[in-house]
Amino acid sequence: MSFGQVLLVAVLAVPALGAVAVAATPRDRAARLVGTVAAALTLVAAVPLVFGDRSWFAWSAGAPAVRPWHELDLPWVPGLELRFHLGVDGISWPLVVLTALLTLLCCGYSLWRVPEGGSGRALVALLLVVEVGILGTFLALDLVLFFLFFEVVLLPMYAIIAGWGGADRRRAARKFALYTLFGSVLLLVGVYVVVAAAGTADVVALTGGAGLSRGTQLAAFTLLAIAFAVKSPLWPLHSWLPDAHTQAPTVGSVVLAGVLLKMGTYGLIRVAVGVAPEGARWAAPVLGVLAVAAILVGSLVCLAQTEVKRLIAYSSVGHMGFVLLGVATLTTTGIQAALIGNVAHGVITGLLFFLAGAVKDRTGTGSLAELSGLRETAPRLAGLLAFAAIASLGLPGLAGFWGEAFAVIAAVQVGGPLWTTLGVLAAVGGALTAAYFLRLLRQVTHGRPSTAVGRVGPGLAGAELTAWVPLVLLALAIGLAPALVLGVAEGPVDALVGVVFP
């Protein structure tokens, strides 16, 4: 086994064993500490995955379009031809690191504060199980394995929302589980269609269409795209998200928005577009129109929203609309924009949910009408909130800008009346995004302190700063050096676009 393969296994095994260890540790605080250490070790294992064979010489017709830096391919259930096939490349690595980082921050945050509803030990153990599922989804190179990991995430996330959430948590958790289960059913059927038609579940072999007939590709893409659209979420399949994000505890919202949604967009790029390129070409205009509808509807709803966490949840709908628009263009520019938009949204919205949770914990309310004047009583918290909001509205020089601007530029690049219109409308959506975030800031930070805000002290806990500062720095770093994400993604994306338009 090479070093890279050890790392691949470690990335999945460490959090899984960590979850077991956390559950087995009797004392609550010690258990949380064990979980945080496991999450840290996972991050330590995830980062060096980038060192490896990255010889991306120009893509040629013969070579496979997916060429992982590290690969592990073991027979698993030989009778069913199932293989335990893992791999990492430039499309998945940024997301793997983001997942490991956000889980670590959430575990660390849980050391300091456990939301009401259950023991901190169980929460940390569930977070680690969720991490295993998400990382497995990003690493799997076998469709059945992909599906399995995709499903692993669902129940622990349900438990996190239902166990530690807000007042209306049970209903929100049930809606989340049922809705995404509906998506999973379609995913299962889609995977079945592909595997039955192609006779293999190997993503490396399947990418590029692998002799699937046009009809199979259209059917497979439709099924897979709807399944991933539920997870991403794409308007109009998004309505599980506001409830789940609003009711989930802070760490749950961070993981949900930060990385769980990325499973949908990642699946769309890696599985749906890769496996059924002809279907992707056929459905791209529909996908683009829906993505722009998501941008506009999401930002308009935010403009009329009255609850902080709900507003941020709906802003995710808009931001993921930009990501999906980038994917829908099926150009190198667009897919690269989608990848960096994915990572940026994870960092920034994770930060926003942390801050909204902090505001809600301190004031006891999330209603915009009851919040004002935060900069008078807690200037640092208000400053951080302003930073996160401004990063999220896509200020050039911060992380959010690249994904949104280049989704628009990619749409303009495709050209033609439809895509130009979509690009223009998406750019207008950018202005609306600014409008609702400024409205949020004006309401929450400016003016005289309301009674709820008047009680808030100016201090920030050390644990809070430890959880937030990495995200702030990342938002700046990715904004100033987008090559951090895009440098590794260029080769794989070129190869993918190469098979979509052979």
Binding site: L178, L300, L303, Q305, Q336, P396, F406, A431, A434, A435
Partner: protein, 645 residues
């Protein structure tokens, strides 16, 4: 070497700004722990002034060393064949604008130390958050300098939007004004609406070129349709930043910001950025004359609109704000008739005299505690230094020879006249006529409102007898005095060959009026005459009744001008309210229709399940009958299928 200077230019204030943001934003307990707050304030002052002074030194060094256009670039990121570069593009014009920006920024940093100080009579709210304030000024300066030196369209966009953000933060600084947050939001949003166009324009050019480097974009052979579309889209962003009709509405409201910030926004940063960006990309605009025609119309409307609105304001800062709108109209007019040199010359002189005017107005406001001219009067005797500085500033604004504004405004008018009479401009000659006539009318109106400001604030009897106004302390006085020098003399620099050379655009294929910045000749007489007419009219009105407002002579037009033709209301009715209504509809639709369908299908499923469950809850006889019937059916089926086989 020159490239390094150019790169350091925005970096120095950026570092100062970022460090400043790390300082404690406010003293923990303003009453008990003033010591810690004072220390943070001292550090903030040092950082702000050092950053601005360092940038000024760099800009001057750059001005001295840059002799020909220079360019450095390195790849920033490559997205699917579209290259984004990091690099600077330096020439004489960039260096001159950089000097203006940094000089005004330094003046504002120094002035702010005195302006935002807690006095014995202030309530506790004043000067509560000096560190973020000074840091944001540094960031603002850095962003503007980035726009000035940027060699890539996306770098330019970064500076462009960060400036919008800083204006937002600084306008909202004063917590005592309830209108400040709304004004700040308006400033950011209106410019952001323009930036939608700016981004799309950049996208079109970048996609057409395959690179966002300005040199590549200028060298590429674009199709006329692309150029026209991109140019018009870019103009939307320019109109937003430079407060041109119809996106000018944010600028007067932005007066809610502290007065030094007004000086910064109006003189050197923000509003100047739009005009400067057009000069950077000027060959693209001349290749698509439609864009310059549109710019000429916009500029002429803005010029007259701003000047007329300035005549009826009572707030001294709003008079100056509208005068900025009008003066930027001169600059865009000059661009439309083919002379970026004249536009930049006016930009530089305007930076000097408008910074002077705002800082002097700040001294007046500081002394009398109000911004309304109806409560001032008679300040000439009590505040002589401020009075004479204001006289210089207003004279330059109105174009009194030999002050700065006279020469630069005359340069614009001369180019416009040539474009009108001889058709030398890139746009049709009627655009020249439009700009020229609007500019001439503007001269008279400007003289009128400048005279009104001077008479209302500094002459006559004091209307608030209780206050004892006095000239400002040294920290406020020196920046004002030093700015009076360029406001008076910068126009004469137009006669210097070295200065004119730096503003000359080799790439601009315009003949005739382009050979010199200043034009001595009979053409000077017409604006001078109009100046005298405007000044004479206001003096006449004032002499008739020294206590009354000369604006009373406007009659029924006065409220219309005071509310700037009610364009704010138009914008509110046509844009703000429909968007709000649409947002409410979208929210309701999303909750009732989209989510309603989901919830409905959930309820339908559980209802169906409940119905089936009810069917299964049958009494024993019916259940037994059901079981038997089922057995019978299965038996029948088995017999039939088995029988067939």
């Amino acid at each position: 070497m020159t490239g390094l200077l150019g790169a350091l230019l925005p970096a120095v204030p950026l570092v100062a700004g970022l460090l400043g943001l790390l300082l404690p934003p406010a003293p923990r307990h303003p009453t008990t722990n003033a010591e810690g707050g004072d220390r943070a304030r001292r550090v903030a002052v040092a950082l702000g002034v050092t950053g601005a002074a360092g940038a000024l030194a760099l800009a001057v060094a750059l001005l001295v060393t840059v002799d020909r256009p220079r360019e450095t670039s390195t790849t920033w990121v490559d997205l699917g064949g579209l290259t984004v570069t990091l690099g600077v593009r330096l020439d004489g014009a960039a260096a001159l604008v950089a000097v203006a920006v940094t000089a005004v920024a330094l003046a504002v940093q120094v002035y702010s130390i005195g302006y935002l100080r807690r006095g014995p009579h202030d309530d506790l709210d004043v000067d509560h958050r000096y560190p973020p304030y000074a840091a944001q000024i540094s960031l603002f300066t850095a962003a503007m300098l980035l726009v000035v030196v940027a060699g890539d369209l996306l770098m330019l966009l970064v500076g462009w939007e960060v400036m919008g953000l800083c204006s937002y933060l600084l306008i909202a600084h004063d917590r005592r004004l309830p209108g400040a947050p709304a004004a700040a939001m308006k400033a950011f949003l209106v410019t952001r609406v323009g930036d939608v166009g700016f981004l799309l324009g950049i996208a079109l050019l970048g996609v057409s070129t395959g690179s966002f480097r300005i040199a590549d974009v200028l060298a590429h052979d674009h199709s006329t349709a692309t150029l026209t579309a991109a140019g018009l889209l870019l103009l939307a962003g320019v109109a937003g930043k430079s407060a041109q009709f119809p996106l000018h509405t944010w600028l007067p409201d932005a007066m809610a910001g502290p007065t030094p910030i007004s000086a910064l926004i109006h003189a050197a940063t923000m509003v100047a950025a739009g005009v400067y960006a057009v000069t950077r990309l000027y060959p693209l605009f001349t290749a698509a004359p439609v864009t310059l025609t549109v710019l000429g119309v916009i500029g002429s409307i803005t010029l007259l609109l701003g000047a007329l609105a300035a005549t009826a304001q009572d707030d001294i800062k709003r008079v100056l704000a509208w005068s900025t709108v009008s003066q930027i109209g001169y600059m865009t007019g000059a661009l439309a008739v083919g002379s970026p040199s004249a536009a930049l010359f006016h930009l530089l002189t305007h930076a000097a005299f408008k910074a002077l005017l705002f800082l002097a107005a700040g001294a007046v406001i500081h002394a009398v505690g109000t911004t309304l001219m109806s409560e001032m009067g008679g300040l000439r005797r009590t505040m002589p230094v401020t009075f004479w500085c204001t006289v210089v500033g207003l004279g330059a604004l109105a174009g009194v020879p030999p002050l700065a504004g006279f020469w630069s405004k005359d340069g614009v008018l001369a180019v416009a006249e040539a474009a009108a009479r001889e058709g030398t401009g890139p746009a049709p000659s009627w655009v020249g006529w439009l700009v020229w006539l609007a500019g001439l009318a503007g001269v008279a109106i400007t003289a009128w409102y400048a005279g009104r400001l001077l008479l209302r604030a500094f002459f006559g009897e004091p209307r608030l007898p209780l206050v004892r106004p006095h000239d400002p302390p040294a920290l406020l006085r020196w920046p004002v005095l030093l700015l009076a020098v360029p406001a008076a003399l910068l126009g004469l620099a137009g006669f210097l060959g070295a200065f004119a050379d730096r503003l000359r655009f080799a790439t601009v294929p315009v003949a005739g009026a382009e050979d010199a910045l200043v034009h001595l000749g009979p053409g000077l007489l017409l604006p001078l005459a109009l100046l005298l007419v405007g000044a004479g009219l206001v003096l006449l009105g004032w002499r008739r009744d020294r206590a009354a407002d000369p604006a009373a002579a406007l009659g029924p037009l006065r409220p219309v001008f005071a509310r700037a033709f009610r364009l704010d209301d138009v914008q509110h009715t046509l844009v703000v309210r429909p968007v709000r209504a649409l947002a409410r509809v979208a929210r309701t639709g999303d909750e009732v229709v989209v989510d309603g369908a989901v919830e409905g299908s959930g309820r339908a499923a559980s209802g169906l399940g409940a119905g089936l469950a009810a069917l299964h809850r049958a009494a024993l006889p019916r259940a037994a009958a059901g079981v038997l019937a089922g057995a019978l059916l299965i038996g029948l089926a088995a017999a039939l299928i088995g029988g067939v086989r």
